[in-house]
Amino acid sequence: MNKRTKKRIFESFRYSTLTIWLLIVAFPLFWIVSTSFKPDAEWFAWPPVYWSETPTLANYANVWTGKEEYADTQYIQSMQKPWVALGNSTLIAFISTTLAVFFGSLIAYGVSRYQMLSEARMFQLLMLRMVPPIVIVAPLSLHYSTLKLLDTHLGLILVYFLTTLPYAVWMTKSFIDEVPVEVEQAAEILGASKLRTIWEVVLPLVRSGLVATFLFILILTWSEYLLALILSKTEVVTLPIELSKYEGSTEGRVYGRQAALAVGITIPLIIIGLFISKHLARGFSFGMVRK
């Protein structure tokens, strides 16, 4: 077998594996989108309906406008407030993510340049994230109850900020590490103050990385379920909690509605992703500064 044939075989193996994997991963996404357009009868149909022959926007209209005439199931639509949940999620996710990336990068800078945390501390920081949330959520809800943080925006912002901070530190540190110290020192010896150096030299070089980190943490926060469920269920409802309400024992399983909501939840992330795709490609490649 010559080299070229070998390479061909390898390539076709590679691409068929990737294709199969892509199909497996993408199928649930397809199923959600497909279900969101199905009329009620097709949600549970057997054999399954892959793509409805009579697609309808009824699910979307019911979920997002709350109009009575679309409430043609036993599902009590008046209980649901997806726009409120969307507002809550947006507020909470954006504020906590901004805080995490801001303070995370400050810490990361200190660690990268001044060894502010030892390597052991850095790992302990990550270990914090390995504790299953269920372990911390019970004691936390007790504290939250005393502090009157249960069911508040502030409460969720705080817990999301703190739990995503380790990721923010680790990710932004990898980007800051990529900026050679000499480049900063060159700026300093040319007369730039520390702040000016960070603003003019460091920040532009890590911008893509910060954007990538922001999106990564935003996705985590946007879709967080357990903490939101325990700490904030009735007053301040986020989208994942809202989503779960379409599967309650009283309402029954209204898959079409749920799918329509799920699609709506995902779209903002996709839009943001498209807007910053340039940064993502550079940021996630972890190698923006060539020496």
Binding site: E188, L190, A192, S193, E200
Partner: protein, 358 residues
Amino acid sequence: MSRIELKSLRKEFGSTVAVKSLDLQIEDGEFLVLVGPSGCGKTTTLRMLAGFEDPSDGEITMNGSIVNDLEPRDRDIGMVFQSHALFPHKYIYDNIEFGLRMKNVPEAERRKAVEDVAEMVHITPLLNKRPAQCSGGESQRVALARTLVTHPSTFLLDEPLSSLDAKLRRELRAEVDRLHTELKKTFIYVTHDQEEAMTLADRIVVMNEGEIEQEGSPMEIYSNPKSYFVADFFGSPSMNLLDGEVISKEGKAVFQHGQMEISVPDTYANLGSGKVTLGIRPEHVVVSTADGQIPETIDLVEPMGKDTLLYFEAEGERPFVVIVEGLILDDYKSGQQVQLTFPDDKVYFFDEAGQRIR
């Protein structure tokens, strides 16, 4: 005036002592070269001068005042880094302009200054490119320009040419030399390349393991090395160093290296006896087909163009090398027996501790 003094300067990193205790004066306008093998503390010394590294002990004074606690930007120095350290996201023009902007020079003046300095180091066509589009040599020119434009009174250069190929290195070396002559500023230049040190320096400071081994003019360092280390470090090809013993033979002192026996010149009366190392530079050995002190067989003939190198087998790792002027392929062939002579005044002896014996 920017006379710089280092007094008992020391730097430790944890348990490693990078610089032991450095005493050094640098005169205004001098071209000083710090040279030594990798890891001997050159960069650390330079970084302490720049203010990026706090000395563990000792003082740095500039114009008589202690600058230990001064920020790098307040020391009136410019630095060219080994890695160029250009701002990758800025155009070359903006890279060079940066220092002027930080010093609040008016826009029109900045433009003129950038264009002038670009012309000076021949990088005008690069001004609207980015660092990633520049070759190594071009980047180094830009790094020079970026520092030059701010007119510091002292330039620190840390192995600025070490990442370039030989031809480019020679070219830029000449450029650096020209800049120093034109600007009449103090240059402190770090290198591990002895040839760079020899060609550029007014004064060479040889460092070894965090200490100064010897300082002096290039000529002095070359012709009067204080130790085995310095003798071995300077010169290309390097000095022939033969380990041997001084014995007494018929009342006369004789240096013995394997089969080779050389009578010790009378000037080395206090050589005593015992283990010593004999050193002689390749260009000082006299080769003859007729008569001489030492009969040897040529192992290899290497014509270099202007000169020819003759290699002889010797005990130890390195062959014994002799440089003969001119292309002499017809006169000497490998396998041929020749006579070598070591002129008395060209022979060095080093004791077991590596110190020169006079």
